[in-house]
Subunit: 400 residues, 2 copies
């Protein structure tokens, strides 16, 4: 087994960056022509490394190592958010290619739609572990333009193609190299993050119902302003959650929509998308209890009514201790003192693969913490270090 060819690895990344180029980033929404072009390019790369490559019915690109095991699975995703970064996902896929090129017994996979362009989320990784039904595919639509997933698959030439599953017992574990998408490594002057676990997102839709009315003709005392009730509830969450949440929890309101949304009309309805994240289930449950208590209090005091609907309730994924130890050992060997253990605040395919096999992730720094933006970037030397540490850890896990 040869050393990792980091020059070829970087060349691969830069070549992939040209597919769907947008400023210094890329625009490769799932199943778009650019995305399918990237998938076909990846099939060529995998084949050139001696893997048997194919694209399945949900768009997963899989390169199977033809030799004997034990094997590891290495991968990430290859589509991008709209007008976003060149490394998010691509890094982990090309790292897999680099390990295969070096002769390691790895399968490499780019799991389709980790970025969630279509309803459902993690379609590719859930499909490969057998947790994506045909009915769910039938129902799923593009979150931006509503296009049915079936139509997108058809347009991408994937209709009728079988969806692959994992071969039980084939892999000792799953490794994913990824950019941090935060500022903790950069802020601490570190070069690597060994991920302890992947937070779960509990996503909520909060709906406030009031009474639409004339902003001038309706007195303050009689109005039932759904927007105001929403603001008061969110202000209460802002005040209370620090005392409820865990040390590394995050909670975020991404969207507020008032209806009708006209300057002179008291909103009769408000809809809020609010989520919180943590790597610990008891903490998530505590935050849920807190949220529901604040909603109850709002309903007790306000003239508007608030309902809460949970639209996602993922399970945190804990990374495998043995695989983590391999990453820690490799990191300390190649970059002594320049790494730390840390959770992942973002979701990844690793959290899905973790339901079927030991899984672990390795982070490299994000410059300025920027991600989901075309300015996303990481220094070449940190990318190279990342794939070298991944390769060394893989050898340790494989017992070499």
């Amino acid at each position: 087994m040869g050393a990792i060819d980091t020059a070829a690895f970087l060349r691969d990344l830069y070549e992939l960056r040209e597919i769907g180029r947008f400023r210094s980033g890329v625009h490769r929404p799932t199943y778009s022509p650019q995305d399918m072009q990237a998938r076909r390019w990846l099939v060529e790369r995998l084949t050139a490394c001696g893997l048997v490559a194919s694209i399945d019915g949900i768009g997963n690109v899989y390169g199977r190592h033809p030799g004997p095991g034990p094997h590891l699975l290495v991968g990430s995703h290859i589509e991008t958010q709209n007008e976003a970064g060149w490394l998010d996902g691509a890094l982990g896929v090309m790292a897999g290619v680099a390990l295969a090129r070096a002769g390691l017994p790895v399968d490499v996979c780019a799991f389709a739609d980790e970025e969630g362009h279509f309803e459902g989320g993690f379609l590719g990784s859930r499909s490969i572990i057998g947790e994506l039904s045909d009915e769910e595919i039938d129902r799923s639509r593009n979150r931006t333009d509503g296009m049915p997933l079936r139509d997108a698959l058809r347009a991408a030439g994937l209709e009728g193609r079988a969806r692959m599953g994992l071969e039980p017992g084939r892999h000792k574990g799953y490794f994913e190299l990824h950019i941090e998408q935060g500022t903790q490594l950069e802020g601490s002057g570190l070069r690597l993050g060994v991920v302890s676990g992947i937070v779960a997102i509990w996503q909520w839709r909060i709906v406030v119902e009031g009474q639409q009315d004339h902003a001038g003709g309706t007195t303050m005392a009689e109005r039932r302003d759904a927007g105001l009730a929403a603001v008061r509830l969110l202000a209460a969450v802002d005040a209370e959650f620090p005392g409820i949440a865990g040390e590394r929890s995050t909670w975020t309101t991404g969207r507020i929509v008032l209806t009708p949304g006209a300057p002179s009309i008291i909103p009769g309805r408000a809809e809020v998308l609010f989520q919180f994240r943590d790597v610990s289930v008891p903490v998530l449950e505590r935050m849920e209890v807190g949220l529901r208590a604040l909603v109850r209090e709002s309903n007790r005091r306000e003239r508007c009514s608030v309902t809460v609907e949970q639209i996602a309730r993922a399970i945190p994924a804990v990374c495998d201790p043995a695989m983590m130890a391999a990453l820690e050992g490799a990191a300390e060997e190649l970059a002594p003192g320049a790494w730390q253990v840390m959770p992942s605040g973002a979701g990844h395919d690793a959290q899905v693969l973790a339901r079927r096999m030991p899984a672990a992730m390795l982070f490299v720094p994000s410059i300025g913490g920027v991600s989901h933006h075309w300015a996303e970037d990481t220094k070449d030397e940190d990318l190279a270090l990342g794939v070298e540490v991944l390769g060394e850890a893989a050898l340790r896990v494989l017992g070499r």
Copy 2:
């Protein structure tokens, strides 16, 4: 001069209701085919009452009393909000027709686009008092679909038509009968409101700039969440304004927009449309001082920056005491004890006419306070009482 024929008045209203009918209301956006049909219908009604009727270049429908003065001007507007009520505006116009039919020396006018379908606001009444330039008409577009006002005027057959002005000194005053569009009369069991003044709307656009970022990968301590800063500011306004505002002031946030508005992305920008209203300029100024102080405080404390832009700064219009006294006397005569003096929380053409002549308004109750909605309604007997009191007040003002 005969008594007001309330049966004919009600018949007129019900006939007008059929033009652009939508459920129990009407859909007559300014310059639409239905609106132009209503204006032509009005020309016929005015002519039938002996007035010299015309439609001018901005769509004002004017019926000029051919006999000697002194004259009064009586009117309102005839277009409607989308899918809205049958009385808002129509009531005051048909009341003018009823007074003319009874032989009172009144001109009757339906001022175009009081409802503000096109940018600028109060286009018809501002035009007739000489405060609407051709340049402003050139710039104005429909607020919903962006159609240039010039195109709408052309399509309505009004291109090239001259715009009329008031004849200075012709009118002793302007009377407008209107539905209350609130619940104060109904809530107090009263049948009439003599309006003391028309509130001014001071409209603000508040923009918060933060940093768009990943909801999971960005810690609570480092994020610059523009949506959260907006919520905190609005919560502060909610807490402070009761102590700043006047007794009858209203303040309303009609719209909040977070950008990008995605569930897993920290908003980098928030835009809020906030307005307050009062009939007293010192109170409006106090609320402005209060708003700016809260914005300053936000900029002192938060990691996001807030800017405030005023997009409307109207002047409150005080109603004429002599005309109010005439209305009060007529109300007490025809409905003793069943009336009150009250401000108008909504804008009306009267506030524009008040810049040129004494002006006064009379309110009738709104059932359930509903307006700007097809369910808007008032009992026939209250409509009839309103036009009778208006006629009696007109006689008093004219010295008969």
